[in-house]
Amino acid sequence: MGVMKRVSLVFKAKANKALDKMEDPRETLDYSYQRQLEMLTKVRRGVADVATSRKRVELQMNQLQQSSTKLEDQARKALGMGREDLAREALSRKASSQSQLNDLQVQYAQLQAEEEKLTVASQRLQAKVDAFRTRKETIKATYTAAEAQTRINEAFSGISEEMGDVGQAIQRAEDKTAQMQARAGAIDELLASGALDDALGGHRDDIQSELDAISAGSDVESELSRLRGEIASGQPKQLGAGANGGQAPGQAPTAQQQQSQTPQYGGQPAALPASDYPVDDVEGGAGA
């Protein structure tokens, strides 16, 4: 018989079964109309649910995009500091973030398509429900219960087919949304865990902490070197002068002293115990 014919018979059988339950066929009209209105509400809710899901995916796509940009930035900084290991780590996280992003783009397109389909379906159902309401009033006004039967059957099987179709479409959209929400939940967890980049939440991620530690370390190193330089030259300096990079323009005599020490300052760290900070080779001041 063919698939298409058989499916249409299945739909018709469903409609007939529902009709058979009614004693007065005209009751069917009002009952069915109520069901149609419920279905319309359901489709509209379905559209809203898909839209919510789509917006969530959109939000995650933005977060992943930010994460990628930030990781690339970190990689650049790390390379600038001579830390290729850190740069590699940042780039590998960026790749993972990027692959999640590509995945989400596909999901986003699917949700968008689903949303459009359901929107069109709800418009179609609305048109049919309006047509049914008009038909229903005509039938009730014009025909006796017995006469009405054929006309009711016609109107009913048409709307019932539409309802069956829309019902399945909502079901498919719900299944798809549920799948996406499970994946969205997984991505939220991934983002929150910092596996990609947890700086998004406002707190620092480990790559950033290490980069900060390097910078902080180099500040401490240069301060240390400066103080060592001062001690070696037997000239205790005011902290304020040191903070200005060893220049104290307000105090002419000390400023001269300071300048005379400059070569010694540069050579000093080599004579001292090596630092634990991995930063010596990166930082421009103390080592170079």
Partner: protein, 92 residues
């Protein structure tokens, strides 16, 4: 004749397409019975594009039932099997 594509609505299709649709539908049915995914996919896609391209969308406010109903685009074979047995209506 009125043909519905599930998820897309009804199309009014010229009667002379009946033979083409029947042939493709036969392929589709045989493929579902054999579990032959490539043939199933090809037949379903041909049916869908024939109805979309050669048919015209039926008016949205029509209450006319469809003579033929096509599974939605991207249906799996399982989904089609389920359509055929839905509500206890068997393969008759």
């Amino acid at each position: 004749m009125i043909v519905r594509i599930l998820g897309e609505g009804q199309f009014s299709v010229p009667d002379e397409l009946s033979a083409d649709l029947d042939r493709l539908d036969g392929d589709l049915e045989a493929a579902v019975e054999r579990g032959d995914e490539p043939t199933f996919r090809a037949a379903l896609n041909s049916l869908l594009s024939t109805v979309r391209e050669r048919g015209t969308e039926a008016p949205a406010d029509s209450l006319e039932p469809s003579e033929l109903i096509l599974p939605h685009e991207g249906s799996s074979m399982d989904e089609v099997r389920q359509l055929l047995t839905d509500d206890g209506v068997s393969h008759t």
